[in-house]
Symmetry: C2
Subunit: 323 residues, 2 copies
């Protein structure tokens, strides 16, 4: 007998609706409640019904993954880490990855549909989802199984796994507040992406909860040069902040370089825990990409996972010194 | 009529043996002669005979590539850059990459043979070749087509492409000599790998040619911490060097960090032009990985390329300042 939502609700001592919220919109549920529901899900071995068959009847034993050109300006290599994680997880399930390239999301969906029709792949992994993304509807229409890293922002009716980006910048901001900083700025990329907006939210909501006025909120393209430029603007202000939460290690590296060049004190925390962060002594929020990779393969093969919002981890180094 | 070795020799005004040397042991040929022969090869469209059919009659249109776990200590991501380059080059030829994992070279060969036997791949790309490597003989025995990035050190009878590692460190050393440095150390990893030994050779032969005594030659595992430790030993010596040629950006980043921490002047050049190098202002030798990727796919599909030893490029930044 498969456990039901009711069984999970009873075990966790919450309503059916709360279980449903944990499954579909986990960030709207209080962390303590979420943990209780997730523990009940794990204990009972509950799985949501939709698409629960997964790919167990697969034939090619191949999973498609779009590989992008290397971004010349960004330090991050989250997608390369994800690729390694997917390959490892696929191996444990006797599946291989097939790499394909694409010009844009529409082309990516068309290539995935063609590969699936040709029997070359059983399903695909998507990442970098955004509002109005053409990939999920195209793949659903052509019945190509897929799992997504990230969400479109709508109540997505397909398997997805995401990292709690807001929790990451919230942990970074809390860490700086506990280190005595009271004027904490944000350096991010332009508004309008799900990931970027959630990273901003984590900074803002933590300052609000601590009754601190938000420091300057500056934006620009994701490059080291932009990080340095934003740091110069912050330090040249009449009442400069003493710390910065950056949306990426790339921006944080620019902030750090400029501050060190000027001999200015400006604590900074980045996001993604790139290899450069370790070299620079940059504190950074690390995404659990290995767990994401395993959850994605599991979602494709066995149906949507019950726990889909994974928590990042703050790695503290010298750059986030106390005030 | 296909051009022959004799046609190339006549066009370049050299002997047959010289053309053969350019094809099989290019580093033994003087650069000017090599360039003349390579120009003749390109003009005539010459291709070596062996395996010249390539994979044109392929069926799966899939090429296997072994993906390794992420190395926690190394900054370099040459293999990730190669993966992107191979995917791009494969796309142009209507081939996809199939990723597989393996525990060691023997397991890798066994997996490649099994995938080839199952019809899942037409051939594989190898990298990281070393003396006594079990992969080439195993693949030759089971008639699995392959192209290798790097060489075993023997006169390899299969398609390979390599980067001229000695030319890379030679360019780095010459650059430091021209900047006035006379006491130039080497920081590398332990002897016994083809890549590492050639990088050492480029440093040593350039100093010999310039009639300069070689500075200290220090070794250790390829990590930032080791780079810092080696730099401390260099700076604490009675007559410290003024510059260091490092075998990797990872070691160079350690050297640079320690020198900056101590406020010591110690010029340094790394190898691989990682993203971290750009952030640190580290001069570095850049491998032409995109060209390597295209040459490998071409070798697999069309037979061994005529020009197989590609030149790296020195990228000069602030870390290699004049004496």
């Amino acid at each position: 007998m498969q456990p039901t939502v009711e069984d999970v609700a009873r075990e966790a001592g919450v309503s059916r609706q709360t279980v449903s919220n944990v499954l579909n919109a986990p960030e709207r549920v209080r962390p303590e409640t979420r943990e209780r529901v997730e523990a009940a899900i794990a204990k009972l071995g509950y799985r949501p019904n939709r698409l629960a068959q997964g790919l167990r009847a697969s034939t090619s034993r191949m999973i498609g993954y779009r590989i992008e050109p290397v971004h010349p300006h960004a330090l991050g290599s989250i997608h390369d880490r994800l690729l390694h994680a997917l390959a490892d997880a696929g191996r444990a399930e006797d599946h291989h990855l097939l790499l394909y390239t694409a010009d844009d999301p529409r082309d990516e969906a068309a290539n995935a549909v063609a590969l699936h029709r040709a029997g070359a792949i059983d399903g695909v992994v998507l990442y970098g989802l955004h509002a109005g993304d053409p990939r999920p509807p195209a793949l659903l229409e052509h019945r190509v199984p897929f799992a997504a890293f990230g969400r479109t922002g709508a109540d997505d009716g397909h398997p997805w796994v995401d990292v709690d980006n807001a929790a990451g910048t919230a942990a970074a901001t809390r860490h700086l507040v506990e280190a005595g900083h009271r004027r904490i700025a944000f350096a991010g990329y332009p508004k309008g992406t799900d990931v970027g907006d959630r990273r901003w939210e984590g900074w803002r909501s933590t300052l609000d909860a601590a009754d601190l006025l938000p420091g300057p909120d500056l934006r620009g393209e994701d490059s080291v040069a932009t990080g340095a430029r934003l740091a110069a603007r912050l330090l040249d202000a009449p009442d400069p902040p003493t710390a910065v939460v950056a949306a990426t290690d790339t921006l944080a590296a620019g902030v750090l370089s400029l501050a060190r060049e000027r001999g200015a004190r400006l604590a900074v925390v980045g996001f993604d825990d790139t290899r450069t962060a370790a070299v620079l002594g940059l504190s950074s929020v690390r995404q659990p990409i290995e767990a994401v990779g395993h959850a994605m393969i599991d979602a494709l093969l066995n149906g949507p996972p019950a726990v889909r919002l994974l928590s990042p981890e703050l790695i503290v180094r010298g750059s986030s010194y106390p005030l």
